[in-house]
Amino acid sequence: MTEKNVVTAIHDTLHDEMAADDRVVVLGEDIATRGGVFRVTQGFLDEFGDQRVIDTPLAEGGIIGFAVGMALHGLLPVAEIEFADFIHPAYDQMVSEVSRMRYRSNGDFGLPMVVRAPWGGGVHGALYHSQSIEATYGHIPGIKVVVPGTPYDASGMLRAAIKDPDPVLFLEHKRTYRLIKGDVPDEPFEVPIGKADVKREGDDLTAIAYGLALHLCLEAASRLQEEQGVSVEVVDVRTISPLDRETILASVVKTGKALVVYEDNRTYGAGAEIAATIAEEALFDLDAPVARMGGPDVPAMGFASSLEHAFMPNADTVAERMLELARF
């Protein structure tokens, strides 16, 4: 075990997978010479060469399209979209091509490829360096969407994503990159895609979250335990699609109360699907209405600290909502 932050865990895992399998190539903007704007691919160019570490022109649709071609011809591309906010020009490739290749060819072709993208707010990213895109792609069958929140999960899920025969959109919350630290095994390991994880056990209510919001929930839960004696179970969704309904429902049935916390705009966010699933499947086990905390329905967060804070959830607001639900 070595203690690492999230970005180091991703760097090391990607490095090890490239060293272990020469079919793995990385491509994207600023990833080779610069080593990535978040330094995820630092040193890769020198070690693996320019046929495997590819600085592309500034063309997101092209990046995804080139990766599709590479995946169709024997490689395992890991494409980087510099910020999740910039993936929109590639929406056509993602939806019309990446998600449908297997389905439209009746299983003849598959796309073993990973698209990595840093997402989320809390870093003064303003409107175009802060967005959440998980719901947009969670709505598209054929693409798996993962949102690991810890160094351990980021490492294990990235390895699983690279080995997955289907396309995986691998979303890395950029505020967690250097903020969140944790132990990561030194030997290769995988964390399965499609499995949520109970990050903290509790009895009074279940908080369901992912990304940075997971850590806000963990902090709020710990504070409520100490200060109020309220016991909160925290479920880390980890995979947006396919969603692990069983783990979420089992926890909610146990505690009888559910709070879904997500950073994306509240309306039609991924948390809405989770809340709907709970309402559909666990209504008679609930002791309170399903609660949701999401971002306000404004286009995106502002640059000014005051505007960013007003958009983002924080441990105080989450603890407040948890307490309210516990007392219901």
Partner: protein
């Protein structure tokens, strides 16, 4: 080559006949494009090189190894349609076995794929060349530019073939671009652009052969613009009378690539009228037999709707 052109034409005529009979709800015609397709498809090696076609490329997929029977399985949306098992509209080709890359309906999305395949082929040390076909309408799309630009930067082993029939459905070339020749755009990507008479199959062959040799030698891509014309509407659901005069269409048919190639073959003494008549009759009988076989094949099971969203294991 001539037989493949004839086969493509007869597939088209049969498809429209079946459309009028109510047996084929949707047809994408090829007629008029046989010369540029056979000419540019012929220099590639079936089973070794890669084919990234678009929906009008009946003759391209014939050269790659798809049979008329398989094409009609697609037209009738049968379970054994090799392209999609009846999921996609007809003429949305694909076959991993034949190296024909599955494509969608949005235009030019396959162009970056061709560049990516070429990258992978070179990386793996193969001498594979990728052929990528599209209409001139595709050249307005951003993805087209992105694909050619990347291929040019890295001198990838790919040949881009524009089948310029002057209309993107109804929009005529002067409203698509301010230039006469799509091939001029190649200069912006740092590789040669070649204009060729798309109704002259041998000229297309010569241009493609040069481009394929150049690609295989590691000298990078070529953009070939084959100027041609489509004799039928964009699809069976289109009415081209709203944007093309009948006189224009009839005039274009005087340049029929099949007639022109037949004349050449006769001049050279390769075929005579009798041999040509026999070839048409044989091919028609063969196509008609394969149509009957395809028509009698099984439809997809409704229960298969939810299959192949994700990997189902080897051999699934």
């Amino acid at each position: 080559m001539y037989r493949t052109m004839v086969t493509a034409r007869l597939i088209d005529e049969a498809s429209f006949r079946l459309n009028r009979q109510g047996k084929a709800p949707f047809v994408v015609p090829v007629s008029g494009h046989e010369g540029c397709q056979v000419g540019t498809g012929w220099p590639l090696r079936p089973g070794q090189d890669m084919w990234v076609p678009y929906y009008r490329d009946v003759a391209i997929v014939l050269i790659a190894g798809m049979t008329p029977y398989e094409i009609f399985l697609g037209l009738f949306a049968k379970a054994d349609d090799p392209s999609s098992g009846g999921r996609q509209m007809p003429s949305h080709w694909g076959s991993r076995r034949l190296g024909i890359i599955s494509h969608s309906s949005p235009i030019a999305t396959q162009v970056p794929h061709a560049a990516g395949i070429a990258w992978a082929a070179r990386y793996r040390g193969e001498d594979t060349v990728v052929g990528c076909w599209f209409g001139e309408g595709a050249t307005s799309e951003g993805g087209w530019h992105e694909g050619l630009n990347f291929a040019g930067i890295h001198k990838l082993p790919v040949v881009f073939v524009c089948e310029n029939n002057r209309y993107a459905i109804s929009v005529a070339q002067p409203l698509q671009m301010a230039i006469q020749n799509v091939a001029d755009r190649a200069a912006g990507y740092g590789f040669p652009g070649v204009v060729v008479d798309g109704n002259d199959v041998l000229a297309c062959y010569a241009a493609m052969k040069t481009a394929v040799e150049r690609a295989r030698a590691g000298d990078g891509p070529t953009l070939i613009e084959a100027k041609t014309y489509r004799y039928f509407p964009h699809t069976s659901d289109d009415d081209d009378r709203s944007y093309r005069t009948r006189e224009e269409v009839e005039e274009a048919k005087h340049n029929d690539p099949i007639v022109r190639f037949a004349d050449t073959l006769k001049e050279q003494g390769v075929l005579d009228d009798a041999a040509i008549d026999v070839m048409w009759a044989e091919t028609k009988a063969d196509v008609d037999t394969q149509i009957d076989q395809a028509w009698n094949a099984a439809d997809p099971e409704p229960s298969s709707l939810e299959r192949h969203v994700y990997f189902e294991g080897d051999g699934a």
